[in-house]
Symmetry: C2
Subunit: 412 residues, 2 copies
């Protein structure tokens, strides 16, 4: 049996252990929900004061130039690019993931408009907002566009017929933690004449994404999960250079204009990634994204991925060693190549068990149906966190210390 001493030894030997100090984690909490909301970088409070008290408060409107607010969406994109295998001028941070997905899907359909392809293909188990956005776009275009849902991702090859314009997939599934082989799947989709839109919400900062190497077409993602940008922090959109000139989508706000301050009465698209912007971005939330990205500059995605797999391997192993006999089903793949940075376990009373874990200081979360999610953020999750989580889970299960009538919050 693995022991606590083994876990402490792993922490002692962890070359990334010091990065945890960059985050303000509450004492005594085992936080395994960075896949929902990343922890707070310590730098965020001072950065917010800088932006609010000095830049907004003292320089006021001048800060659009002097504090670099105007270029912030692009500058953050440059910082984020290496984490997802993108070039520096291929990413902007702006709007929400949903809005960016709308832009990316629209741009992909625009490229396909001269073909008869009218299907947006995705998984039924994709994150719901992705499906809803695709539905909204297809319905409004009203020219035969349709969203087709795969019952399981294994059906993808068979579904890639001549009608498919774009395949929209979330790289790492939010519920199961299953990861696609981005390069192989992209090649398969391209061979069938379709384009790819990848949602990296559970990948960026969690696994070693290589968008350009995979020859992907478009991607969007979230900065408030593994990138630790803050609650609801603006999302990102990636458009490779080869698609930028043809990038066309309906949310043509003034920030995407070639000369926004010329105040022309007609839209002319900006060159490069500014074309993927829309309106004025929320500067305070946007600026905090930098605090999260700065921590990544101290390491590499390869090193983080290595630790992430070690953490999830350990969690699976400890659950199997210490919680036998309980009705737990691992739904996250065991194969490294198919696993993101979370472990999802089904228990018939998953919601109640998760509430009990949270009550006792182990913060994971719950997704329908019956899925307990445990997210492992290699920047700050320790091996001792894994130990603590499994020991708490074991006690709760062994003692049946959970409340089947636990009330649900608005956000669960």
């Amino acid at each position: 049996m693995t022991t606590q001493a083994d876990c402490l030894a792993l922490d002692a030997a962890d070359p990334l252990a010091a990065l945890r100090d960059a985050f303000a984690l509450p004492e005594g909490l085992t936080y395994l929900d960075g896949n929902s909301l990343g922890a707070r970088p310590r730098a965020a409070t001072a950065r917010a004061q800088q932006v609010i008290a000095a830049e907004w408060g003292l320089d006021l409107i001048g800060s659009w130039n002097t504090a670099g607010w105007y270029d912030l969406p692009l500058r953050l994109g440059q910082m984020l690019a290496p984490l997802i295998g993108a070039d520096a001028d291929e990413v902007v941070v702006t709007d929400s993931t949903s809005v960016n997905l709308f832009k990316a899907l629209a741009a992909a359909l625009h490229i396909q408009q001269t073909t008869p392809r009218r299907i947006i293909l995705t998984e039924r188990d994709n994150f719901p907002t992705d499906i809803y956005i695709a539905e909204g776009l297809a319905q409004w275009l009203d020219r035969g566009y349709e969203v087709r849902l795969l019952d399981t991702w294994e059906d993808l090859p068979a579904a890639l017929d001549d009608d498919v314009a774009v395949v929209m997939l979330t790289h790492v599934n939010y519920r199961t933690g299953r990861m696609f082989d981005m390069a192989a799947v992209t090649a398969q989709i391209h061979a069938a004449g379709a384009l790819t839109v990848w949602d990296l919400a559970h990948s960026a900062g969690a696994v070693d994404v290589q968008l350009n190497a995979a020859e992907a077409d478009f991607a969007v993602g979230c900065t408030y999960k593994y990138l630790n940008g803050g609650p609801g922090a603006p999302a990102f959109i990636w458009v490779p250079q080869r698609h930028q000139e043809h990038f066309s989508q309906p949310l043509t706000g003034w920030w995407a204009h070639r000369q926004p301050f010329a105040m022309e009465p007609g839209y002319r698209a900006a060159t490069g990634m500014r074309r993927a912007l829309c309106g004025t971005p929320p500067v305070v939330s946007l600026a905090l994204v930098e605090c999260g990205l700065e921590v990544f500059a101290q390491t590499s995605m390869a090193a983080l991925r290595k630790k992430s797999l070690a953490l999830t391997d350990l969690f699976i192993q400890l659950v199997e060693e210490y919680c036998p006999g309980h009705p737990l089903t691992l739904v996250t793949p065991r194969a490294h190549a198919e696993r993101g940075s979370q472990v999802s376990i089904v228990h018939p009373h998953g919601y109640a068990v998760m509430q009990a874990l949270i009550k006792h200081g182990v913060i994971g979360d719950y997704r329908e149906p019956h899925v307990m999610r445990f997210g492992f953020t290699p920047l700050y999750t320790s091996y001792q966190d894994v130990w603590q989580a499994v020991m708490t889970l074991r006690r709760i299960l062994d003692e049946r210390d959970y409340d089947l009538d636990a009330a649900r919050g608005a956000v669960t």
Copy 2:
């Protein structure tokens, strides 16, 4: 001639003078650019610390419930509603003005879809992003939709033919400060069978807007100008109760779903104003909007409007008294009913003169062509500010103390 003593006497008698203390304005600065970026409420720094250090840092994901993040877009909408003559359940704060305008226009076109009306009518002099967004929507719908631009707003009655589906107008023009009679124009548009979308970017918190009394159809607006919500703070959208049930637009993100956490694979629209949300909002920027709105709770739009008119009247009068003989042209209407809360003056060297004003501590801004804009925010602008601005302008003009080669920043 009006004297400085007269201005000081006006300040001494100003019932709203104490509200200035709610804002952190730099010593010695005369800030007349609140129509571009509102000043910082003093409360904003502490509020940011609360949200970042305590809510994000300590309660982490739990804050979606415990700190009320989940309901924040609606709660801010309730606070904002009385400032624009709306009911409490008719407004949400979310996304950018551009994105919200896209939703509002789409919703208006949706209502008109069973008619043959396919024209979005607006002014050529509308704020550019409004026109660009309308263009983007019309082009993408590709079913005969078209944006038609009025050369001058006086052409509106003649342009209201049977093809017009929706008239999109900015209530107070960003460049001239000219204000529409919302009730009269809305009635005219309705009589012609069209719907209205009002952009309140330069109205909300500046003039006494009465959306429901005017029987307007849709409105959007900005919180970072007169509402002092912070740089790029999320915008708002208003949908009156009578249109909420039919409110349909393509940006159907999960926050607009009836049960977002049921994670259903099909979109079902939420009831009420949640339907106008899309993705996860930027919580830190969003939370700061409350600091601005709280100040409004201490007064009324009627009182603010009275002071605003007194400030703009005084500015016009002082310029006429103290800057005769200079090539200045007032482009803001003199009639109170047609004036917002800014005064715009054309000077052949407007850009250079404005740069000189800024250099000497009088912050206004510049809009093509040749327009110097001076915004008056009755919450914090004093009559002495008006005096100071005009005396500085007078000296700069009299001494020709401006640089015709002044370089332009990215944002002007």
